[in-house]
């Protein structure tokens, strides 16, 4: 009898080529995404004059630097344009499929992969981007790698990894109104710390996970890295399998049936054990926002900013004081009094169709008091949103409806928050300067961003039901 295995064990085992005497495993990589930032990896390959081992298992996507106001490089900052061109050149040189700036399927890599069914259960996927954990929502082992590792995967289609420990986070109970996958993620990260899951692969489980939409699962796995976890997985279920059956990049016919049979077996055995387990009752979660400069600096929207004077640990007290100072906030300030200057609805965390629907629904209550941009996660999301008329809602709320890309999540394309400005954002990082030098970011769900926009300050989405207005 084989011993009970977790979902992670099963996928890992299927990819293990060998183990060396230090316990490191050499793993087979099914899918490798590269983007503009991967130019360092390609440069390392060129230094050694090495070819790609398996170009057919590599997909190049332009997303990090792409302009969102137009779909052309004309008139762009020359250096930004050069980075995008380098990706095109490398793709062409190495015979790699490119979803470029002008492609029908363009979008953010972590939105496009799952959308096309390029992401599938049981695969091992890597990308030179830390939010690669997103793809784990479809039952894959997916993780971010650095440029040296990118070069290694390009040259060998394999990667050395030490098997991580395993953590299961179970979300149970009934999700209250206004609480989403984003809030669940910020909640556990705030509660346990931004480095809690360091060295662990996370499996998300519990009745709430089963009930979540596929989009919401992607959001949850996306944020694994903000809690320190390099990967986050969710077992495939019938909802996912049905979706995949109709995707462009999944097998068809008999092969699909064989694949389905395998996918259905990809779940943790009942008696499988984890190195650590935590359980969260979602009925206790409030809509959650970040007030500081790390995703762990998050609180329920009805709370006040922390007071460093009340913190016994002096290092922590200094950290709180430093974060408050950077954010231009004072101790004990109600979060709902914080006025915002602009909003951003976008990124691989929260720019899927579900997210845009939720955001647009709120704008039926009124226009935005602040400027902002809405950048759909992919062209496909954009087309769907426009078919549903969501673009009109955003535009009449006074927002800019722009093209898809990483945009203001990281500001590489020039979409930035001005120094000192405060942005309510659906993205994933509130680090100092993340959205531009001196920018101040408050992370929250799409509905909470919209609700803040309507008020001009942070506000509690749960009041939307109390007012009874619709």
């Amino acid at each position: 009898m084989s011993s009970p295995q977790t979902l992670f064990d099963k996928v890992w085992q299927a990819h293990e080529i060998k183990q060396d005497d230090t316990g490191q495993s050499l793993l087979w990589v099914d899918r490798h995404f590269v983007h503009e930032g991967s130019f360092h990896g390609f440069a390392k390959l060129a230094e050694r004059n090495l070819p790609l081992a398996r170009p057919e298992q590599t997909l190049a996507i332009a997303d990090h630097y792409v302009p969102t106001r137009a779909r052309t490089l004309d008139g762009m900052n020359e250096k930004v344009a050069a980075v995008i061109r380098t990706l095109q050149d490398n793709a062409q040189k190495h015979d790699v499929e490119l979803i470029g700036l002008e492609s029908y399927d363009q979008g953010i890599v972590h939105v496009v992969g799952p959308e096309l069914g390029f992401t599938q259960p049981g695969l091992l996927m890597v990308c030179g981007d830390s939010h690669t954990a997103t793809h784990g929502a479809f039952g894959a082992i997916a993780f971010g790698i650095g440029a040296s590792e990118v070069a290694h995967v390009l040259a060998t289609q394999t990667i050395w990894q030490t098997k991580p420990k395993q953590l299961r986070i179970s979300f149970n109970g009934k999700l209250p109104f206004g609480v989403t996958a984003k809030d669940m993620a910020l909640h556990w990260i705030a509660k346990y710390g931004a480095d809690f899951a360091r060295g662990y692969a996370i499996e998300y489980a519990g009745n709430v996970i089963e009930e979540l939409s596929l989009e919401a699962r992607l959001t949850l796995c996306n944020l694994s890295i903000e809690g320190g976890g390099r990967m986050g997985l969710i077992a495939p279920d019938e909802k996912l399998i049905e979706f995949l059956a109709n995707c462009a990049r999944t097998p068809k016919g008999d092969l699909l049936e064989i694949a389905k049979e395998y996918w259905r077996r990809l779940k943790s055995d009942d008696d499988a054990t984890f190195d650590q387990e935590i359980e969260i009752d979602v009925s206790q979660i409030a809509p959650t926002i970040t007030w500081g400069v790390s995703p762990e600096e998050a609180l329920g929207v009805d709370a006040c900013t922390p007071d460093p004077a009340k913190e016994k640990d002096s290092a922590k007290a200094r950290q709180i004081a430093d974060s408050l100072a950077y954010m231009g906030l004072s101790a004990g300030q109600p979060l709902q009094e914080i006025a915002i200057d602009r909003i951003f609805i976008g990124s691989c965390t929260n720019a899927r169709i579900d997210d845009l629907r939720a955001a647009a629904e709120v704008f039926k209550q009124g226009p935005s008091k602040v400027p902002g941009i809405v950048s759909p996660g992919s062209n496909a999301v954009k087309r769907q949103a426009e078919a549903e008329g969501l673009d009109k809602i955003f535009k009449s709320a006074g927002l800019d409806w722009v093209e898809s890309g990483c945009s203001m999540c990281v500001g590489m394309n020039g979409d930035i928050v001005a120094p000192g400005e405060r942005c309510a954002s659906t993205s994933n990082r509130n680090f100092k300067g993340r959205q531009g030098p001196g920018s101040r970011t408050h992370l929250m769900s799409p509905a909470m961003v919209s609700w803040a926009a309507i008020h001009g300050h942070i506000a509690d989405i749960r009041h939307l039901t109390n007012t009874g207005s619709h």
């Binding site: 057919e56 440029a147 289609q157 694949a259 990082r429 030098p437």
Partner: protein
């Protein structure tokens, strides 16, 4: 890569937790080719004001910090993005070792791949090191074989994954190592595609 065995060098204490990769190198500098030298971008927004002038109160800008090769910081150093550029910024600046109670996972593997030692110390030892340095830029001695760090009379031990230690000590490069496994990889690949036949394209 140069093997890393021991080093002794001036050390700079950055008394902050969560020094993330966006701070180590802001995204706007990452479109530059490595050949420009990434050291100039290290911790840019902390080191320079919005006019591009060095902030005099920042430790790394202290004239005594000129030959710093070791950085001491608080927990969760290098959290965040997978950008290896964060490691390039440190390495190009001349840093060869960062000491902290914890590191971002991807940062650590990137560090190893560039010969930079991420030395994990206990929180209490980290406090002691901060006290011992006390704003000076004293030399620290790092011994990778013994896994110890000494500053003056203080000696603490540090942690590192066995495989990473081995790689640093030998200056090994992964691609060279993996290329030697070619036969095994090919054998695996054939078996893999016959098992998962829907993946063969």
């Amino acid at each position: 890569m140069e093997p890393f065995i021991t080093m002794t060098a001036p050390t700079c204490a950055l008394d902050m937790a969560n020094i993330d990769t966006d701070q180590l190198i802001p995204a706007r500098f990452m479109k530059e080719p490595r050949s420009v030298g990434y050291g100039q971008f290290l911790l840019y927004d902390l080191r320079f004001d919005d006019q591009g002038q060095p902030k005099t109160n920042y430790a790394l800008n202290d004239p005594k910090a000129q030959n710093v090769q070791i950085v001491l910081a608080r927990r969760n150093f290098g959290a965040g993005s997978s950008r290896e550029a964060a490691v390039y910024a440190l390495v190009d600046y001349g840093i060869r070792c960062v000491i902290a109670p914890s590191f971002g996972d991807i940062f650590s593997s990137n560090a190893i791949n560039n010969g930079l030692l991420p030395a994990i110390v206990e929180e209490a030892d980290c406090d002691r090191l901060f006290d011992q340095l006390n704003g000076s830029f004293q030399e620290a001695s790092v011994d990778l074989t013994a896994q110890t760090i000494s500053v003056g009379a203080l000696r603490v031990s540090f942690d590192i994954r066995a495989v990473w230690k081995k790689k640093l000590l030998n200056g090994w490069d992964d691609i060279d190592l993996t290329m030697q496994e070619k036969t095994e990889i090919n054998r695996f690949q054939n078996a893999y595609f016959s098992r998962f036949n829907w993946l063969n394209r």
